[in-house]
């Protein structure tokens, strides 16, 4: 069987298109690369949707934590503490079993017991909390002069936030936010190991890699393949966020533009 046939059979296996049964014996390198690559579809799905949705909640949380309103501040602080203070792995487990129990209360929760929606909800809240803390830190370090200048020009309220506070916050937070995006993307590999079932063996990259490692008892092929895919994905993220960073900083004089460090923090 040529590699092209394998791609046709297994290229979209993780979303249920193509061959129904996974390969069982005589695994070729091509099969491993294709199937693990097909699993990456799930990682990209979780990563992009959680990050895009989480962005808005994160901004709201950061503004809430920095606001003078006591209720909004306390709510944001607790939200951030809850999701940053506990392991994502346990959050997945708890959410899955909670959705299972809620299913008997109302059929609304039925779709949430699948990984596609339930795990996405957890990842969304989780990244919102982490990014919210990053944005809050950036809000606190906006230069006082910028805000005073805005007021001198007569900008107030929403206009001031939209034109001055928000873009400056984003610019300051961007390197740390890039880091968060990378880590969120890495965190998507936990989904199928944490209670959420891989229905009909539709799983993510690491799910298929561990399938091969279990079957062949040889970790030296499938795991480096996943690693390769993720290094590639990390480079793509750094490129995209670097482009955004240049755009955010384009109004600054050349020497003051903050370069996105190629190797930012190693940990979340």
């Amino acid at each position: 069987m040529s590699c092209w046939e394998t791609i046709a059979d297994y290229g979209l296996r993780s979303v249920g298109i193509g061959e129904r049964l996974l390969p069982r014996s005589d695994f070729t390198l091509c099969q491993q690369v294709v199937l693990i690559g097909s699993g990456m579809i799930w990682n990209i799905y979780f990563g992009i949707l959680a990050l895009c949705g989480g962005f808005f909640l994160a901004v709201a949380t950061a503004v809430g934590k920095a606001s003078g309103n006591r209720a909004a501040r306390k709510a944001s602080e607790w939200f951030i503490f809850l999701f940053r203070g506990s392991p994502l792995f346990i959050q997945f487990f708890f959410a899955y079993f909670a959705f299972l129990s809620l299913k008997s209360v109302s059929p609304v929760f039925d779709p949430f017991t699948s990984a596609g929606l339930g795990a996405l909800a957890v990842l969304f809240l989780n990244t919102a909390a982490y990014s919210g803390e990053i944005f809050y830190g950036a809000l606190q370090s906006i230069p006082k002069g910028d805000l005073e200048a805005a007021e001198a020009y007569g900008l107030t309220g929403w206009t001031k936030f939209r034109r001055i506070t928000f873009p400056t916050m984003l610019r300051l937070a961007w390197p740390a936010y890039t880091n968060e995006a990378i880590f969120l993307f890495h965190a998507t590999t936990l989904v199928f190991f944490s209670g959420f079932p891989a229905w009909q063996q539709k799983g993510d990259a690491l799910y298929y890699a561990s399938y091969f490692a279990d079957k062949t008892f040889n970790p030296f092929v499938p795991y480096p393949i996943v690693a390769g895919y993720f290094i590639l994905a990390t480079l793509v993220i750094i490129t995209l966020f670097g482009a955004a960073n240049r755009r955010l900083n384009r109004h600054l004089p050349q020497e003051r533009r903050a370069k996105l460090r190629i190797r930012p923090m190693v940990i979340r």
């Binding site: 809850l82 203070g85 392991p87 792995f89 708890f94 079993f97 008892f217 690693a227 993720f230």
Partner: protein, 292 residues
């Protein structure tokens, strides 16, 4: 004293008290200890790994590539991939090494199709070994795996901290005629900790939050027991039948971790205050002004 001999007759709180003190629950409570031991053992070991990694990254060229490569690779790849990889890879590496030493006249290949076969004498732990030895071996593999991954993180933090120590301090030491080795140990190492602490405390939090992954390495940890104990129990197999309580067990784990991270946060904050004292940093300067 409560009597738990006939659980069917018990009700309410006394039932709960008996339920929560069954043998399996005791194993569950012990596994919290396992997690704490893992943290206590892994933290210093990875700090040591990190220290050598950072030293290597500052060293002469071939060693530097090794050190920086170690730091860079762990960054690009999800840590869970490393956990799953190293736990099998280390086991096979140890068995293969023992196989080469203990059975030199074995002529069959070690990898036969989908099997990894070494001679009986090279098995780790030996097939005849008692159960506890198997558990200790599994735990040791987990500790080494954690140490390798977190060692790379720590290496990155310490490497940054070593570069953050003011250059003037090193130059002064050299002017006093200290050798490079003396400068490193007497000037650089004592001063780098205050620069490393924010990164290291962050790392400590990440380490705490990575401990549930022990479950994936095949250890009977708190996640294992929470799933096991929380599942629906029918009267046929247990004296304490109940529905699906896994949600509540995981809620308890969430609270445990929240408490652990909160306490760490407070302790690390105090430690930072202590270390900043008398340092040539803005924090140290602020403390001096308050005292004066």
């Amino acid at each position: 004293m409560l009597s738990c001999t006939d659980p069917q007759s018990l009700e309410g709180l006394s039932w709960l008290a008996c339920y929560l003190t069954t043998g399996k629950h005791m194993a569950f409570y012990t596994s919290f200890g396992t997690v704490l031991i893992l943290i206590a053992v892994t933290a210093p070991v990875s700090l040591a790994f990190g220290f050598f990694g950072a030293m290597a990254a500052r060293g002469p060229v071939p060693v530097r590539w090794l050190g920086q490569g170690y730091i860079a690779i762990v960054r690009g790849v999800p840590d869970i991939v490393f956990f799953l990889f190293f736990v099998i890879a280390l086991d096979q590496a140890f068995e293969y090494a023992r196989h080469k030493v203990l059975c030199p006249d074995w002529d069959q290949p070690v990898r036969q199709g989908n099997d990894f076969i070494v001679c009986a004498a090279a098995k780790l732990p030996l097939g005849t070994a008692p159960q506890w030895l198997h558990e200790v071996y599994g735990f040791a593999l987990a500790v080494i795996t954690f140490a390798i991954v977190f060692g790379a993180f720590a290496a990155n933090v310490l490497y940054g901290a070593m570069r953050a120590v003011p250059r003037a301090q090193m130059e002064t030491a050299e002017a006093y005629g200290m050798s490079p080795r003396q400068t490193f140990w007497r000037i650089l190492v004592p001063q780098m900790w205050v620069y490393a602490l924010p990164g290291l405390s962050n790392l400590w939090m990440v380490l705490i939050k990575a401990t549930p992954l022990l479950f994936l390495l095949g250890i009977e940890d708190i996640v294992y027991w929470a799933r096991d104990l929380g599942g629906t129990k029918t009267p046929q197999f247990t004296e304490y039948p109940h529905g699906d309580w896994r949600m509540w067990y995981f809620l308890a784990l969430l609270v445990f971790y929240l408490a652990l991270t909160r306490v760490s946060e407070i302790v690390l904050g105090r430690l930072m205050q202590r270390l900043t004292l008398g340092q040539a940093t803005s924090g140290g300067e602020a403390q001096r002004k308050v005292a004066a």
